[in-house]
């Protein structure tokens, strides 16, 4: 029974592992360079991964459910949305890295609308705005980021209404 559960929990990782092995037979050089670049990405984000694990467990253990619900719960309104959007804008690394973290927060009473807003705000990266301007031009950058914020706040709420 326990083995079955493990298999179920790790199904995706096992599938990826199989894909990698099959591809390694077809094109070893590409797969080995892919593995190397995956390792690089992992090492690059290592500190963030450690920090997320520490932070998530800290929040879960020390902050009472009610408090989390009050700050970023479904009913926390515009304040919660702003907190979520700010968090998404400031955080680094790919959004999916934070999914387990969001899971813990959800379990602690965070609203789905807030989390959806946070993930949406991920497209806005303040640290990268100067780079975006040089590459894309200020007009495109400005409108892109600005429309993002407006649409995402309303969509996050809309989405949360269903959950």
């Amino acid at each position: 029974m326990k083995q079955k559960q493990i298999l179920k929990d790790w199904a995706i990782e096992i599938i990826i592992f199989v894909i990698v092995i099959v591809l390694a037979f077809l094109n070893p050089s590409k797969v080995s360079s892919a593995l190397l670049s995956a390792t690089k990405t992992y090492l690059n984000l290592f500190i963030v991964i450690v920090a997320i694990a520490l932070l998530a467990s800290f929040i879960v253990v020390t902050i009472p459910k009610q408090t989390i619900g009050k700050i970023i719960g479904k009913q926390s309104g515009i304040k919660g949305i702003l907190i979520g959007a700010t968090f998404g804008t400031l955080m680094i690394g790919p959004a999916y890295m934070f999914f387990p973290f969001f899971k813990e927060l959800r379990g602690k009473g965070a609203g789905a609308n807030i989390i959806a807003t946070t993930i949406g705000a991920w497209a806005i990266k303040i640290a990268w705005i100067p780079f975006a301007i040089t590459v894309l031009g200020w007009k495109v950058t400005f409108f892109f980021q600005w429309i993002d914020i407006c649409i995402f706040d309303s969509f996050g709420n809309f989405c949360g209404g269903f959950l």
Binding site: A38, F99, A116
Partner: protein
Amino acid sequence: MNTNLIEGVVLLAVVLVLYTVYFVKGAKGKLKDASKKSVKMFIQNSIRLFAIFTIIAILEKFLSTKAVSTFLLKFSGFRGIIVGALAGSVMMGPAATSYPLGQYLLSHNASVSLVSAFLFTWVGIGVVSIPLEFKSLGKKFTLLRNSFTFIAAILIALLMGVLI
């Protein structure tokens, strides 16, 4: 140095300060629980993330960004927006890598709408990370968030087209 490292260190420092404050306050039992849980979480997340990093790297090696851009340039108008959004959903990576791609597309006369749809779903939707989202946040959430993000991407693209 890259910003990942700097911001990562800042984030870690903040978390460590939180732990220290609790330690000084004397809530050692809770801290022990938290660190135990974090070790477990760290190992689990590491395996899951490494799997995703691997599949993204494989996607990159077998599907070059140049090929994707050349493909995208064949489309225009509303179809361009849809194809751009779809391509962005499949491709993944840090937001910063998508900007030069956007530049390449723009300089080759792709519409602003196509580029914005592409840039938006690049970050907002990840076909590769859907299983992880599914596992962490649930079926309903994943389904709704991704479909809304897709619709939002298209709306944003249309708006961009009107404004610029």
